[in-house]
């Protein structure tokens, strides 16, 4: 412990650990391999499904290692965390000096011997004075859109340094930062966002959790192709805020409604299982067996509607598509959304007074008399349902950060893969009547482009 506190040694050791490209490669390949597991083992199934697929021993292992929800397991997150730390530390190490040299670009120690070290180099002579060659060099590099400076030298030689595509060096940093932004967006989304689902019936309003506006479904319909295949599901939604309609939009799959940070997606549809537009009934005289003309009764009218041919009137107050009765709680519910056993709940009035509230069944006419003590019974013969539109509701404030990240990534890609950083050192030495030109340099990627640059530039210098 050469005079350093243990924690500063520890910090610098951790720093060194994360400032390593071996770690990057290790984490990338580990992520690749464990992700394969996450596609082979189906995610988020029940324990029973795993047992039937893999047996009990493997299921225990799958559960213990969180392979059933691998991408949200602590160790997968830890791997992503290690990659992020790796990126952060590497950026801190590499970016500041790079930025500095971008702002104040100078060749690092111009030594004419440097040229010998490059693999791409050339030496040739021109029958001209050094100052004439100097002009040619400047002209040639400027024509190829290089930046070029003359570097002072003490030994009578002329030294030049040319460069191009400096900004390309930032490509890797931009790409790395973009990955951090995307991860940040994902984190924000998982903490501050929520996902939900709700069904809204045609003509009704639905309140939105945690928000002070409501949503009304004005219309729902399905478009078909000529072949009968479904083309698109559509809903017209209106945002209602403080009792006023503020926005109306038609949504379909791929076209959500966006309002105040919340998105509403067309996700499913169906016939309502607990309400109707109207029911069709008939009066049957139990004595004579005569059945009257069908009549309609609308959903939850303010006043009871008269039942033709009788002194009674009725309101339609309930519907169950797949009637079921729970004895313990004494409630009626629908076993499914399918119309397997439709039943309507009616309120029967004698004048102002409610005398009964029977359930009347479509499939079982007359099993319970609708009007106690009367000669008339009611038959439920038909109905017009209400469609509902199933909406996925999603609030994810992280999404915008993710999109910002993708834009940065695009810029990073362009800089990293399509802008090449080239540096060329040139030494011109006058020897009697002629001048010797030595030229050499390097590129950070794409050797082919550089070979072409070197050829073009030397051709220009020789020919001008």
């Amino acid at each position: 412990m050469s005079g350093k506190a243990w924690y500063s040694v520890a910090v610098s050791k951790i720093w060194l650990f994360f400032n390593s490209l071996k770690l990057t490669l290790g984490v990338l390949l580990t992520l690749a391999i464990v992700s394969i597991l996450g596609t082979v083992v189906e995610q988020n199934k029940t324990a029973g499904e795993y047992i039937s697929a893999y047996g009990e021993g493997w299921t225990n292992f799958i559960m213990a290692a969180s392979l059933n929800d691998l991408f949200h397991s602590w160790w997968f997150i830890a791997l992503l965390g290690a990659l992020s730390l790796n990126i952060i530390v590497c950026t801190f190490e590499r970016f500041p000096p790079k930025w500095k040299s971008l702002l104040n670009h100078k060749p690092d120690n111009f030594d004419s011997k440097i040229i010998d070290r490059f693999t791409t180099k050339q030496t040739f002579s021109l029958d001209q004075s050094a100052s004439a060659v100097r002009e040619r060099v400047f002209k040639a590099f400027r024509k190829k859109r290089f930046a070029i400076i003359e570097v002072p030298s003490s030994n009578g030689e002329h030294h030049f340094y040319a460069w191009k595509g400096r900004i390309g060096r930032l490509g890797s940093d931009a790409t790395h930062i973009s990955l951090l932004l995307i991860l940040l967006g994902a984190i924000v989304g998982s903490f501050a966002g929520y996902k939900g689902f709700d069904a809204v019936f045609v003509g009704t309003e639905m309140s939105v959790k945690n928000e002070d506006f409501k949503l009304r479904l004005d219309k729902f319909w399905i478009d078909y192709y000529d072949t009968g295949q479904i083309r698109q599901y559509n809903s017209v939604l209106t945002v209602v805020e403080d009792g006023r309609d503020v926005l109306t939009k038609q949504i379909w799959v791929n076209e959500p409604l966006y309002y105040k940070g919340v998105r509403f997606y067309q996700s499913s549809y169906g016939n309502a299982w607990n309400r109707l537009a109207e029911a069709q009934l008939q009066v049957k005289n139990t004595k004579s067996g005569l059945v009257g003309e069908p009549f309609k009764i609308s959903w939850k009218t303010d006043k009871p509607e008269p039942i033709p041919g009788t002194k009674y009137s009725a309101r339609l107050i309930g519907y169950s598509a797949d009637f079921a009765y729970d004895e313990r709680s004494n409630t009626v519910f629908s076993k499914s959304a399918e119309a397997n056993n439709p039943a309507v709940n009616l309120e029967i009035y004698d004048g102002e007074k409610v005398i009964s509230a029977p359930w009347v069944f479509l499939n079982y006419p007359g099993i319970f008399p609708a009007i106690p003590g009367a000669d008339e019974d009611l038959l439920f013969v038909g109905y017009r349902g209400i469609m509902y539109s199933g909406l996925s509701i999603n609030k994810d404030p992280g999404t915008n950060i993710v999109w910002a990240g993708t834009i940065v990534m695009g810029i990073g890609f362009i800089l990293a893969f399509f802008v090449y950083y080239r540096r060329i050192w040139i030494v011109v030495k006058e020897t009697g009547n002629s001048s010797e030109v030595r030229i050499g340099g390097m590129i950070n990627k794409n050797q082919f482009a550089f070979d072409k640059d070197m050829k073009d530039v030397t051709d220009l210098i020789k020919s001008e």
């Binding site: 992700s35 996450g38 698109q232």
Partner: protein, 294 residues
């Protein structure tokens, strides 16, 4: 469906012929065979373009919606990428490998079961169009051909795949060439450029493929966000695309900063392309998920 199948059949023949011609050029070392080979692959490219156009006409939407159409797109992009490379670097010998891959891909596409080939109207989730493009095309009555995030996603991804396929072919060539070089003496492989050049070309192909796969993944996320309200759901296709991307990211980091060139780079590139193959076909046929259609 007739016209696109006619073009498909013709393209199949053209790819087969250009593979033969490139191999002939390799074996007999005659310049005119090489020129003929390049011309034939250009004809094949045109013919492949016509398959896509005819498909668009027949289906009434951009031709990127099932496995068959995506195969044609892959073949198209690989051919275009290869021709660009040949034009830029004046190296013909690797055409034999690339055109053989193309012929095999044509064969695979032709053997797809009918349900992957038939012209289908788009299901609701696949209908994503850019409004600005629809507005632009409406005056000409072509609005149904407007493309959207989905088409962009498929297109970018397949340019990526094409780059990886070319790099894969080059990596195999590199390994063969490297072996013969280290043995010394004259060999059948002499017509190939130096192994160093093949290695660099293979890297260049990945340097194209990697950003395009990245853009493909991201645009897919944008579309998923419109269609399902979530930009990432760890569906097997998504996960495998990320796995592939990780492998090539490792390749680039190893190469640029640790000087992994030659053999090790070639093995990584081959591993990467195997992942691409699984991502493209394996996931569609073996693993269930959202990308079941292609």
């Amino acid at each position: 469906m007739i016209l696109s199948l006619v073009f498909f059949t013709f393209s199949f023949v053209f790819y087969f012929l250009s593979a033969l011609l490139y191999i002939g050029h390799w074996v007999f070392k005659k310049k005119w065979i090489g020129q003929f080979a390049t011309a034939m692959s250009f004809v094949a490219l045109m013919s492949t373009t016509m398959i896509l156009i005819a498909r668009a006409g027949e289906s009434g939407h951009a031709p990127f919606s099932n496995l068959f159409e995506s195969m044609v797109l892959f073949i198209w992009a690989t051919n275009a990428g290869y021709l660009l490379m040949e034009f830029k670097h004046k190296i013909k010998a690797i055409g034999a490998v690339v055109m053989t891959i193309e012929t095999l891909a044509m064969l695979a596409a032709s053997m797809l079961p009918y349900r992957f080939k038939s012209v289908e109207p788009l299901n609701p989730a696949l209908q994503s169009k850019w409004h600005w493009m629809q507005d632009l095309l409406t005056p000409f009555g072509l609005e149904k051909y407007a493309i959207g995030w989905l088409d962009f996603h498929v297109f970018a991804t397949f340019i990526g795949y094409a780059g990886f396929a070319i790099s894969f072919g080059l990596s195999i060539l590199y390994l063969v060439k490297y072996m013969t070089e280290s043995k010394g003496g004259k060999s059948f492989m002499d017509v190939l450029p130096e192994s160093k050049v093949i290695d660099e070309l293979s890297y260049r192909a990945i340097a194209w493929g990697f950003p395009f796969l990245g853009v493909g993944i991201v645009s897919g996320a944008v579309w998923a966000n419109y269609a399902w309200g979530t930009y990432w759901s760890w569906d097997p296709k998504e996960t495998w695309s990320l796995i592939t991307w990780f492998i090539y990211a490792a390749y680039l980091h190893a190469r640029v900063t640790r000087g992994w060139k030659g053999k090790r780079a070639a093995y990584l590139s081959i591993a990467g392309f195997l992942a691409v193959l699984f991502l493209y076909w394996g996931v569609s046929f073996i693993l269930p998920g959202l990308h079941a259609y292609a």
